[in-house]
């Protein structure tokens, strides 16, 4: 038996919708096998992982809190990946945004006005754009590989955060814990309803709608797609590849920065040595699972947020390591990429020596 690919005459629309569903199903099946191997009842474990967190109001709120950064970063990354620009350093831009935005409440704690929050958000976005702008400028100016530079900047931003919270930004009244001072009321993103959900969720919804409109209804959206799929055609149309690289990095960096400051100001309320459970990397999976479509990313953001909560729930109730979350996330991306092949190709199995006819 040999596996052969046969190119479809055109993209399969049915498969474009089905492939994420197949991928999720395969991930769940693999998960069941994995849990069985760990000596758990697969049905109970899967229930704990993917259903139980949806049954309580507090955990539903937590789901929104976790989905917020994933969606904000994911829609930005979609623009990058659609235009064939590879920003994989969103985790660093998230951290840079959090740092830049936190400067105000940490260095000027007395500055409490209605301007505090808007300024923090703007600074957060600017911080993310700055961090995302570095690989973009290096790419445009020198042709430096943006994948590697954006990733190296993740490590650098995390070390910078670590230094700040252990050194100059450590809370003077914090008993030497590596934490910054707690943000004042004026520097805290207001909660939505009564609980953990904060205004950041609204930013995510706005970003989804705005980018959906840009991608589907405007010339810019067309430009992003053309430069991604047919760079030569894009050049003939007068689109600039270099401007697109800058645009994609600044946009995704800015959104990641906004996610960073929203998370810190709305959820953690201070800086600590670790402020993200890998949102910037998980958002890559969110973007692909959502088929690089803002609406799709909205839903996949919730699914990946659920995997974080499920991991915590399974650890508490069943004693399963919360590391399984990351295994699930990695598996999911694998299956998504494998299933996407079905959109452009038909798969057939051929016996060795026999060639498929009429392909």
């Amino acid at each position: 038996m040999r596996l052969e690919l046969e190119k479809r005459a055109e993209r399969s629309t049915a498969m474009a919708l089905l492939s994420p569903v197949i991928a999720i199903t395969l991930t769940l099946v693999t998960g069941a096998v994995l849990f069985a191997a760990l000596g758990q009842n697969p049905a109970v474990a899967l229930y704990m992982f993917f259903v139980d967190p949806l049954t309580a109001s507090w955990s539903l709120q937590e789901l929104v809190v976790k989905a917020t950064p994933l969606i904000l970063i994911g829609v930005g990354l979609a623009v990058c990946f659609l235009s064939n620009t590879w920003n994989i350093g969103a985790e660093g831009q998230f951290t840079a945004g959090a740092l830049a935005g936190s400067m105000l409440p940490i260095l000027l704690p007395g500055f409490e006005s209605f301007l505090t929050l808007p300024l923090m958000l703007v600074m957060g976005i600017a911080g993310g754009m700055l961090w995302g702008g570095i690989p973009a400028i290096l790419k445009v100016r020198f042709g430096t590989n943006e994948i590697l530079t954006s990733l190296m900047l993740v490590y650098i931003s995390q070390l910078l955060l670590d230094w700040l919270v252990r050194g100059p930004w450590r809370d003077p009244e914090g008993f030497n814990f590596p934490e910054s001072r707690v943000f004042s009321e004026a520097a805290t993103l207001p909660a939505l309803a009564d609980g953990r959900m904060h205004v950041g969720a609204i930013f995510a919804v706005i970003a989804v709608i705005a980018l959906a409109v840009v991608l589907m209804k405007t010339l810019k959206g067309f430009e992003i797609r053309v430069l991604g799929q047919a760079p030569r055609a894009g050049r003939f149309a007068g689109f600039s590849r270099n401007k697109m690289i800058l645009f994609a990095f600044l946009l995704s960096g800015g959104l990641a920065g906004l996610a960073g400051i929203s998370e810190v100001s709305g959820s953690v309320n201070q800086l600590t040595p670790v402020i993200s459970p890998g949102y910037g990397f998980t958002a890559i999976i969110v973007a692909f699972l959502g088929r690089l479509n803002p609406i799709g990313i909205f839903f996949s953001g919730f699914l990946l947020a659920l995997s974080y909560l499920g991991g915590e729930a399974a650890q508490v109730t069943l004693g399963i390591s919360d590391k399984t979350t990351r295994v699930f996330q990695g598996l999911l991306l694998f299956y998504v990429l494998a299933c996407d092949t079905l959109i452009l190709y038909r798969i057939r199995f051929a016996r060795p020596g026999v060639t498929a006819k009429g392909a």
Partner: protein
């Protein structure tokens, strides 16, 4: 043992994992495949190397476990990118994310456990020579293996028919296919070789560099290895030079921290990452150099037409 000698010894241990991973990836990229999952294969190699040594009591068998697990990860990557023509960049990222998750899960039981060190060899008389004895004749087997690999890869790539085929597949897969070369098969073998090297590199970390398991212990070394291949403009001997240069940078910050230089440790820890960006910029400024040397089909999927 003099201070200089001990620094040189630590540079070798820091450089070897980078060298192993980078020389493997070099062959992969020469065949036209970009596997960004080096970090993921490495970390799985690290945890499996540790586990293998614990289970069998032999660090050498641990290294074999590391090598095989790296190949297993590479096989996954190969199936997706070569058989299913999935996007290589995205699949490589998936491999890294999966590897980090898997290793964390497998390694949870090993956190805090003492490891088994793969020690250096000891040749009577030679190892006891003054100055150069320990340096040249007292290293562990993997150090020698990494150097042999550089020579071997260099020889095979540029002096044998097999090497010609690998480079042909990497530079023009359509022509290679037309000449009757099985592009997919060559690429599979290259990807598996890369996985074996990355796995072994990870094993080196948990068996020699710091014989224990720490989550995320590769700390970006897989990515630095990828940068080294670009830095070396796909030449094995330059990979050797780059790996030792980066090994030295890593050790420099380590010694600076130990001697309490008045710079915060985080800044010193960031040195290898900053250096990586710096060398990438320097090398890519010379566009002709990179364009001439980059395998022309790097990252481009191949679907044979029938």
């Amino acid at each position: 043992m003099g201070a200089f000698e001990s620094i040189l010894l630590t540079v070798i241990t820091a450089a070897t994992p980078l060298l192993l991973a980078a020389i493997g990836e070099l062959v992969v990229e020469r065949s036209g495949v970009l596997n960004l999952g080096v970090e993921g294969m490495m970390i799985v190699g690290a945890v499996m190397g540790f586990a293998g040594a614990q289970a069998t009591g032999s660090p050498y068998l641990g290294a074999v476990f590391a090598l095989l697990s790296g190949m297993g990860m590479a096989l996954l990557f190969g199936f997706l990118t070569l058989h299913l023509v999935a996007n290589q960049v995205a699949t490589g990222l998936a491999l890294t994310l999966l590897g980090l998750g898997l290793s964390g899960m497998i390694g949870e039981a090993f956190v805090g456990q003492p490891g088994i060190r793969l020690t250096g060899i000891d040749i009577p008389v030679l190892s006891d020579l003054p100055l150069v004895g320990r340096l040249l004749f007292g290293q562990d087997v993997l150090v020698y293996l990494s150097l042999i690999l550089v020579a071997g890869v260099s020889y095979v790539l540029f002096r044998t028919r097999a090497g010609l085929i690998i480079r042909a597949v990497g530079d023009n897969h359509a022509s290679a296919h037309a000449l009757g070369v099985s592009v997919i098969k060559v690429r599979y073998l290259a990807v598996l070789f890369g996985g074996a090297c990355a796995g072994l590199a990870g094993g080196y970390l948990s068996l020699v560099y710091t014989p224990q398991w720490v989550e995320g212990m590769t700390a970006g070394r897989g990515w630095i290895a990828l940068a080294l291949v670009v830095f070396a403009t796909w030449r094995p001997v330059r990979v050797l030079a780059g790996a030792y240069l980066f090994g030295a940078v890593g050790i420099l910050q380590f010694h600076a921290q130990a001697h309490g230089v008045g710079i915060p440790s985080q800044f010193l820890s960031a040195l290898p990452y900053i250096a990586t960006i710096a060398v990438l910029v320097i090398i890519s400024r010379n566009r002709i150099l990179t364009r001439v040397n980059t395998p022309a089909c790097l990252g481009r999927p191949f679907v044979p037409d029938r």
